[in-house]
């Protein structure tokens, strides 16, 4: 075989191998919960995008803010218009790296933590988020639960409210990642 062809195939193989390490979803679930005296506030987003590179542990999560579904649509409108200002800041984003990358080629459950930058409402914070990876055949399920302090992200809570919102919101993610 011609040398050039061999090298080209080698190059392609390497590139393919690198690509094959990606696990992703476009329909990840992100939900949040806020304790309020009158009525607890919760919303769900089923359009979260997440990509994990199982080789080097790079991870990216993108949450479209307007896709959060609230049972109370007026609350949803206020959430977009006044709290998260989704016109200006359409996404929440996490860009990070797993601190220790387990061998994800073997089925099992692995506790992991990812260190990186969490961008919400235009404010980026360095955070370490804990989670769990469950490897099951062709899919990896990533779950993660953490808290967001609204003041850290310059999300103001109005002074006059019936529905007083907790200053810290619980966030839970469930991503079923499949091999790209």
């Amino acid at each position: 075989m011609h040398m050039k062809t061999v090298l080209l195939m080698l190059g392609l193989a390497l590139t393919f191998q690198a690509r094959a390490q990606l696990f992703l979803t476009q329909t990840g679930e992100t939900r949040f919960f806020s304790k309020a005296p009158l009525e607890d506030i919760s919303a769900i987003n089923k359009k979260t995008g997440a990509v994990l590179n199982t080789q080097n542990g790079d991870v990216v999560v993108r949450v479209p803010i307007t896709e959060f579904q609230f049972p109370n649509k007026l609350m949803q409108e206020h959430f977009n218009e006044n709290y998260l200002e989704s016109d200006k800041f359409p996404y929440a984003m996490f860009r990070g790296k797993l601190q220790d990358v387990p061998d994800l080629s073997k089925p099992g459950s692995y506790d992991v933590s990812a260190k990186g930058s969490f961008d919400l409402h235009g404010v980026k914070l360095d955070r370490v988020l804990k989670g769990k990876l469950v490897v099951d055949g062709e899919k990896i399920t990533l779950t993660s639960e953490f808290q967001v302090a609204l003041v850290d992200h310059k999300i103001d809570i109005p002074k006059i409210v019936f529905q007083k919102i907790a200053e810290t919101v619980d966030v839970r993610n469930t991503f079923v990642l499949v091999k790209k």
């Binding site: 590179n53 993108r62 049972p71 109005p158």
Partner: protein, 304 residues
């Protein structure tokens, strides 16, 4: 040949480290731009009149509105606070476009039934305006006889008052929205010559902060000076003007305002406003709305 080799090797070996987080992002579907304009106004009422906004699907809105007496009625009347008219209303979103509503006003014990349909939504790449259609029947349920002598209504037809309006609005910016409202009111028992009163309303809001907006609204009626005696008993009426503020408190909207009408539905503020705003016949009033959701599916899905 050598160059190709270096290039390919470089490509092969550096592909992995080069897959930084931003490149990872490229594996996701590209970001979709926001399509339709939302929150042209904070509520389904600007002040007296309806806005293009409809209640969202499976959502019930409970509205409590008050208009007090005239501010210029003196200290004996506590500047209008002694007398109040009230309207209680419920409106339900069959879906995001269609709203059905019912209200009861203390003015002439009126029950109003209405339908509101969102025909067109303003969109970045589409329509420059939002259009909503509004139709209502205001049924006067006060007693037939005012006293032993006077008969006010001879049949049920005289108690029905129909309104049709086309609400056309544009959100010009995050802060500023404007609405034009042409429409007609057909009276069941006209006091003066015209049975049909045509009008055009113009109103707008300007957001002074994230949660507070200043609103103003004026309805011009196509009535000659001689035809303006449309109020019960044949009293002279004026075009309705109103200024107010909206304060949004997360799930609620408070509206506080000054206007020259004690009636809070179209038939009343377009044909029964006997005060002249610009001569000081001003009534203080407020609307409060509270939204309840019956969207069990989302509630269940979003449960923690």
């Amino acid at each position: 040949m050598k160059q190709t080799l270096i290039f390919l090797l470089a490509g092969g070996f550096f592909a992995t480290p080069a897959l930084a987080q931003d490149d990872l992002l490229n594996n996701l579907d590209p970001a979709k731009p926001k399509t339709t304009t939302t929150a042209t106004f904070k509520g389904t009422r600007l002040i007296n009149g309806h806005t293009v906004e409809t209640v969202r699907g499976k959502t019930l809105d409970f509205l409590i509105s008050h208009r007090f007496g005239r501010l210029n009625s003196g200290v004996d009347n506590f500047y209008g606070m002694d007398e109040a008219t009230i309207r209680l209303g419920l409106e339900y979103g069959i879906n995001d476009r269609l709203t059905v509503g019912i209200g009861r006003s203390s003015v002439q014990k009126t029950v109003d039934l209405y339908l509101k349909y969102r025909l067109l939504r303003q969109a970045g790449q589409g329509s420059p305006v939002s259009i909503t259609l509004f139709g209502s029947d205001a049924i006067v349920t006060e007693p037939t006889r005012q006293n032993a002598a006077a008969v006010l209504y001879y049949n049920n037809g005289e108690r029905q008052n129909w309104t049709g309006q086309v609400l056309i609005a544009r959100k010009f910016s995050e802060k500023f929205s404007l609405q034009v409202t042409p429409g007609i009111v057909v009276l069941g028992k006209p006091e003066a010559a015209p049975k049909t009163v045509a009008s055009v309303g113009i109103g707008g809001r300007y957001k002074v902060s994230k949660r507070v907006s200043v609103n103003a609204e004026y309805f011009a009626r196509f009535l000659s000076e001689a035809d303006r005696f449309t109020a019960p008993g044949g009293a002279k009426t004026y075009n309705v003007f109103a200024v107010g503020v909206d304060i949004e408190t997360g799930g609620h909207v408070f509206q506080l305002h000054f206007t020259n009408s004690q009636g809070m539905i179209e038939k009343q503020f377009l044909t029964q406003a006997t005060g002249d705003f610009f001569k000081g016949d001003i009534n203080y009033g407020f609307n409060i709305s509270r939204t309840f959701s019956f969207d069990r599916k989302t509630k269940k899905a979003a449960a923690w």
